[in-house]
């Protein structure tokens, strides 16, 4: 609901006078910033940057290499100076757009140098190098777009670089064979842990925010991947080899320890930033993933139910966050996603139609009971807490 509608309701409920309503409206109008201008500015910076990349990729044979390099460095210098000048003039939106353009120009320069000296097609190495040299630029960012791109590229290319080391690659392949879900879980813990450490040591607010956004996107991506992976690879079975089974539990023990360390290290900031629910969600996801890994391929119903529980836990978390932020949109989104997942269960058919039907009815009753009692429960907890405080 927009502010004028809300004010109208408050005025009719005689909470505010019409004079106050006008004053608030005038104030809000003065405070409001143009939303489209920065959006278009960012898009234009992206387009120009990628356009230059494409022009360079065309490889103008008629231009001598030295001329290409000199023009490129002139372009970089001009863009760098513009970034500096607009920062001094405190033109935030333009500066941030120019930073994106500058970062893209740096990437295209790496491409150009690679082209002139025929350095090969190692895109990962090029992107990793780019992320290293643009780190100070990302630290200076006031908006989150470039940090999101940077963090994703840095994290991914660093992991790929690590995997090019033979021994690391060998271990990684073995781990994927023993427990593919462990890799997904550890990736989420790494994202959350890195984000918390960045906020704790106050390295960069924007990078911390970017890591958090990527963490949420990774949760969605992981759940989607697992929901697609499971029906596709139902043949996956846990081995009965005792040595491998032992390795499986050792892996998860390491994972749980990492989860605990991340939680312990960041407990102060997490309390302040209300991050603990994310750890709880990760804990629940971890338990589901272990169960899933253990029963996968043994019983189809068990595998499907456990996999769907993973989605439900994430969607319920969306509702929880919505409630915490008092956002009706988030609550509606969570409810919609849960309904869609239930409908998919109906199409999937767990076992036969009868078990599916009974399971769905039972789930419906459980949801009704939770929904109807949640306020009573929280009210009871609150009043108990108040009582204990008075005592």
């Amino acid at each position: 609901m927009n502010i004028s509608k809300k004010l109208q309701i408050w005025e009719s409920a005689q909470l505010i006078s019409s004079e106050q309503k006008e004053k608030i409206l005038n104030y809000e109008q003065k405070q409001s910033r143009p939303l489209l201008y920065p959006a278009f500015l960012f898009i234009s910076a992206f387009c120009i940057g990628i356009g230059i990349l494409s022009l360079i990729a065309y490889n103008w044979d008629k231009l001598p290499d030295s001329l290409k390099l000199i023009s490129d460095f002139i372009l970089l210098t001009v863009c760098g100076l513009l970034v500096y000048k607009t920062t001094e003039q405190k033109k935030k939106t333009i500066t941030e757009s120019l930073k994106i353009l500058y970062a893209l120009l740096l990437l295209s320069s790496i491409g150009l140098i690679g082209q002139i000296y025929h350095l090969g097609d190692d895109l990962n190495a090029a992107l990793f190098f780019w992320s290293l040299i643009t780190f100070p630029l990302v630290l200076s960012c006031k908006k989150v777009i470039l940090p999101i791109i940077w963090t994703y590229i840095f994290y991914t290319t660093a992991v790929i670089k690590l995997l090019t080391i033979d021994i690391v690659n060998q271990y990684f392949e073995q781990i994927v064979e023993i427990s593919p879900f462990w890799v997904i879980w550890m990736n989420l813990i790494l994202y959350l842990g890195i984000g918390q450490l960045i906020s704790r040591f106050d390295i960069s607010k924007k990078i911390a925010q970017a890591v958090k956004i990527l963490f949420v996107m990774n949760i969605i991506g992981s759940v989607l991947f697992m929901e697609i992976f499971i029906p596709l690879d139902n043949s996956y079975e846990i081995t009965t080899n005792p040595a491998v089974n032992k390795a499986f539990w050792i892996l998860w023990l390491i994972g749980i320890t990492a989860w605990g360390i991340a939680l312990f290290l960041t407990s102060k900031t997490s309390r302040k930033n209300k991050e603990i629910p994310y750890y709880v969600l990760l804990g629940i996801m971890g338990v589901i993933m272990i169960t899933l890994n253990l029963i996968m391929g043994r019983t189809n119903i068990g595998t499907e139910i456990t996999a769907s529980l993973l989605s439900f836990s994430v969607f319920l978390f969306v509702i929880y966050k919505g409630n915490q932020k008092r956002s009706k949109k988030l609550i509606n989104l969570g409810s919609f996603l849960i309904s869609v997942r239930f409908f998919i269960i109906y199409i999937q058919v767990f076992g036969n139609m009868m078990t599916t039907g009974l399971g769905l009815i039972l789930s419906g009753i459980i949801f009704y009971l939770i929904g109807s009692n949640i306020y009573k429960l929280s009210h009871k907890i609150h009043s108990r807490l108040e009582e204990s405080k008075h005592e």
Binding site: A57, Y58, T77, I113, Q115, L123, P136, L137, S140
Partner: protein, 148 residues
Amino acid sequence: MNKSLMKTAIILPLICLISWVVFLQYQIMQKESIRLYVSGYDPRDILSGHYLSLQIEQDKNGCRYERKRDKIICQGYAFKRVYQYYLEEEKGKTLERMLAKKDPTMELEFTLSPFGLPQIKSFYIDGQDWKEWYKEETSKEKSINNPK
């Protein structure tokens, strides 16, 4: 805003890139060089555009393959198995067609620097610089297609 951070953010990448170019230029200016027979095709790299992917011909050059490092050893220097030679998009396509049709001998010339990293210097087709070969072949094709 921290001014020194802003200056570092702008200048550091430039210094890195310039140093890189200087290093590569130094390598390419080395006098010692080696020419190796290669064969190839033309794919595309999203960052640097079209290139000829050229594979070093082990037997023809009298080199050996070292599995552990995944490198080809020629005259004591370690080479990658495949190299990329970047070309203008239009020329890349035409050259790919010509190479498939004529099957000429191809060689890559590498400079050999003290850092032990062979770097591509030139590309030869039938013993000629590729640009000259390309020019000759396209004019031949033109005269066949448009006889006076």
